[in-house]
């Protein structure tokens, strides 16, 4: 997986166009560059308008940066997607089983498949959740699983799970807006491809939320809880609430009485059954978690533990997506489902283990080292891109607390051709599908959000670090 040349989604190693990109390539061949440039401007303008609509706020009138959108779609052949889909279902089922287990019987710990201290001493493990029954035994109803693809020895691109996001994964609004934009800009392209639709995501999400309502509630009322208009993902909160036709509430709109959650409406208090919360655990309830939180609802945890309201996602899911637990996910699949994992994990060295630590310290310039509680691409060392001084500095940090770190080989993420100033050039990409668990089945819209590192050679796709997005097509 350390092949010198990254896997390209459009071009085979010999430079020929892969089959599923041929109609696009042909279209590109006879489409004047001026037209593309014009469409690009049109897209910028339209997004800017949406951006202004949603992101220019604050007393100072400051603007939020828009996330750049690339016009060249990332195309995934249908059979490839079907394998991914099966793998994602399997993985999310195992993760939910793991969460149910560690907050109840803790069988996986007693079986010795995961060291107990790794779970119980994890800052993301919430003792408050022990023994709490959640509807359907589901904890992560909405999961964002980050996939990357690297060139295998045989020149094939192998998918790997880079990270599970089980707390408040975001980005789905871009997935939906990107598709809308592509269909608006290039309707003719959609007549050349049988692109599987994604527009029904809000319906699936609403069904998911209603399916996990407390037992006995026939017509559940769901709301979306946002930290407020100054949160960077507020656009998405407002967008999803509007698309689902549910109320977008802030903590101050809710109150708890007799272990029941109500929202303040013009017609008096109205009971709330399901809260799709886009607020971290720490801020949910000042009586239980951070006492200084103005964003949460006092008494919410008490109502939740009494089973009078459902939180999606549940409290305490962070322990399952922590980097220190990640290496054990394949083990969860085997333990709970009795199946072999369909999706690969990236090989990972856990630096709490002396052998792994020794290997890592000897190979720092080749490896990526990540802090276990970090998120968003901070607190990590990318060996091949680091200077000697940076590596030495990081070595000291590792030695001071090896249990805080994991190491992985530097994956050469796959590339996809992308419009850049100089024309079209390959840029590294990843993929975040959104997996919904509620009721009997696990569902998702085909594809996911493709993020692209717009800087040449960069492997960091995070929007906070200059990443952009692409429309993602699952075809056939």
């Amino acid at each position: 997986m350390n092949a010198a040349k990254p896997f390209d989604e459009m071009h085979a190693a010999d430079g020929t166009i892969r089959t599923h990109y041929q109609p696009y390539s042909e279209w590109l061949g006879h489409t004047p560059r001026e037209l593309i440039a014009r469409k690009r401007k049109e897209a910028d303008l339209a997004f800017h308008r949406v951006g202004i609509t949603f992101n220019v706020y604050g007393a100072d009138g400051g603007k939020e940066r828009l996330i750049p959108f690339d016009l060249l779609p990332r195309i995934i052949p249908g059979d490839e997607w079907r394998t991914l889909e099966a793998g994602l279902r399997q993985r999310v089922r195992a993760l939910n089983a793991f969460l149910a287990d560690i907050y109840h019987g803790q069988e996986i710990l007693r079986a010795g498949r995961i060291p107990a201290d790794q779970v119980l001493d994890n800052a993301q493990f919430r003792p408050e959740m022990k023994g709490v029954h959640v509807p359907g035994g589901l904890y992560a109803m909405i999961a964002g699983i980050d996939l990357v693809r690297a060139a295998g020895a045989d020149g094939k691109g192998d998918y790997y799970v880079l990270e599970d996001n089980l707390r408040v994964p975001s980005g789905v609004s871009y997935l939906l807006e990107n598709r809308k934009m592509m269909m608006r800009l290039f309707p003719d392209l959609f007549s050349r491809y049988d692109v599987q639709p994604v527009e029904h995501y809000p319906d699936l999400l609403l069904e998911t939320l209603r399916a996990v309502a407390p037992a006995g509630v026939l017509d559940p009322t769901a709301v979306l809880l946002t930290p407020g208009a100054f949160n960077s993902a507020y656009f998405e909160h407002s967008f999803l609430a509007q698309q689902m036709g549910i109320e977008l509430v802030e903590g101050q709109d809710l109150f708890v009485e007799d272990d029941t959650v109500f929202m303040r409406t013009t017609q008096g208090p109205r009971r709330v059954d399901v809260i799709y919360r886009r607020l971290d655990d720490d801020f949910l309830d000042p009586e239980v978690f951070r006492a200084d939180s103005m964003l949460g609802v006092p008494g919410l945890m008490s109502a939740y533990r009494a089973g009078r309201v459902t939180l999606a996602n549940a409290v305490g899911t962070g322990v399952a997506d922590d980097k220190s637990i990640y290496p054990y996910v394949p083990e969860m699949v085997r333990f709970y489902l009795g199946e072999e994992p369909i999706l690969n994990n990236v090989p990972t060295w856990m630096l709490r283990e002396p052998d792994d630590l020794a290997y890592t310290l000897a190979h720092l310039p080749e490896l990526v080292v990540k802090e276990v509680h970090g998120a968003g691409g901070y607190g990590m060392l990318v060996g091949p891109a680091a200077t000697k001084a940076e590596i030495e500095e990081f070595r000291q940090r590792i030695l001071a607390a090896p249990e805080k770190y994991i190491a992985q080989p530097t994956l050469s993420l796959s590339t996809c051709p992308t419009f850049v100033d100089a024309g079209i050039a390959p840029r590294h990409i990843d993929l975040r599908p959104f997996v919904l668990s509620g009721g009997r089945e696990i569902r998702m819209v085909p594809g996911g959000l493709t993020r692209v590192a717009l800087k040449a050679g960069s492997l960091v796709v995070n929007s906070s670090q200059g990443g952009g997005t692409k429309d993602t097509w699952v075809v056939g």
Partner: protein, 315 residues
């Protein structure tokens, strides 16, 4: 709907309406100041402007002279004056922003564009601007938002709270305008004695877009009694107190809940006063005391609407 959402919609409309009515008042004083012999407007008419909006003290604290230019700058642009047109349009836009998902794209774009434009306005620019044109601009931005709201928004509960805000603010503002102007213009009992009076009453009518309306309704010379009648009791005149209370009373009937009895009662009572009231009785009681009492009642109604719908005390 969420009380907080209703609250933001209601105040978006109130602040927009307030900005519009503020420039309507400025416009009438400005026009009067341009009349022959007016010498750029006496200080009295400018202090009246400040009285209407209860801003005299705040203005005095700025230490500025009571001149047309200073009063206009203070009322239009002053950042520290919470009722300035600049602050009203900022507040309207902030309220709109907080409930962006409830507004249509056109409504948001209208109120946002208004703010983005006035945000750039400075005293220097205002001095270089044709004031009449600027006042027209503010009025038309308000017209536009109201029209866009009416023409694009689902006429559901959210819409009704927008309208409620508009008419509550307008009732308050018309009453204030009439109260202050009536008394500053009325030294000469019934009937107009000079052409200046005619122009001044004409300017007052124009400030509420009612000059032609007056002619059409009365086909008579302008008398203060009839001006008051038009702005208080005429239900067809869209800025009259009666018309505003028709709307408020009707809307409160439509959005009623078991928690809103008090607001409904007050609105019904106030509406009846206008619906069945007679001008002679109002004048017998004294127009000024009557209007003062009206202002107290409309503000109480605003408080009740707040308590019953927008910031429910129940918790």
């Amino acid at each position: 709907m969420l009380s907080r959402t209703a609250d933001h919609l209601y105040w978006m409309a109130r602040y927009t309406e307030r900005a519009e009515n503020t420039v309507r008042m400025l416009d009438v004083s400005y026009r009067m100041s341009l009349l022959p012999g007016a010498n750029g407007g006496d200080t009295e008419s400018w202090s009246a402007i400040l009285d209407i909006s209860e801003l005299s003290e705040a203005f005095a604290r700025t230490g500025r002279p009571l001149s047309a230019c200073d009063v206009i700058e203070f009322v239009v642009l002053d950042r520290d004056n919470p009722s300035s047109v600049w602050n009203c349009l900022r507040a309207a836009r902030e309220n709109a922003h907080a409930v962006r998902g409830t507004l249509t794209a056109e409504m948001w774009e209208t109120t946002n564009a208004t703010w983005l434009e006035i945000r750039e306005m400075t005293p220097q620019k205002l001095r270089a601007t044709d004031l009449g044109e600027f006042f027209e601009w503010v009025k038309f931005r308000s017209h536009l938002l109201r029209g866009v709201t009416f023409g694009t928004m689902l006429h559901d509960e959210a819409f009704k709270f927008v309208r409620l805000g508009t008419f509550l603010e307008r009732a308050d503002n018309t009453a204030r305008l009439l109260d202050v102007k009536y008394h500053s213009l009325l030294p000469k009992a019934e009937g107009l004695t000079s052409s200046t009076d005619f122009y001044q009453w004409g300017a007052l009518l124009r400030s509420v877009s009612a000059f032609e309306t007056y002619r059409h309704v009365y086909r008579d010379v302008i008398t203060p009694y009839k001006v008051a009648e038009l702005l208080i009791l005429n239900a067809d005149m869209p800025r009259s107190l009666h018309a505003c209370l028709d709307e408020i009373n009707g809307i409160l009937g439509e959005i009623a809940s078991i928690h809103s009895a008090e607001a409904a009662r007050q609105a019904g009572e106030l509406h009846a006063t206008l619906h069945y009231g007679r001008m002679d009785d109002i004048f017998d009681a004294g127009l000024h005391p009557w209007l003062e009492r009206f202002l107290v009642r409309i503000n109480r109604l605003g408080d009740s609407i707040g308590e019953n719908f927008l910031v429910p005390v129940a918790a």
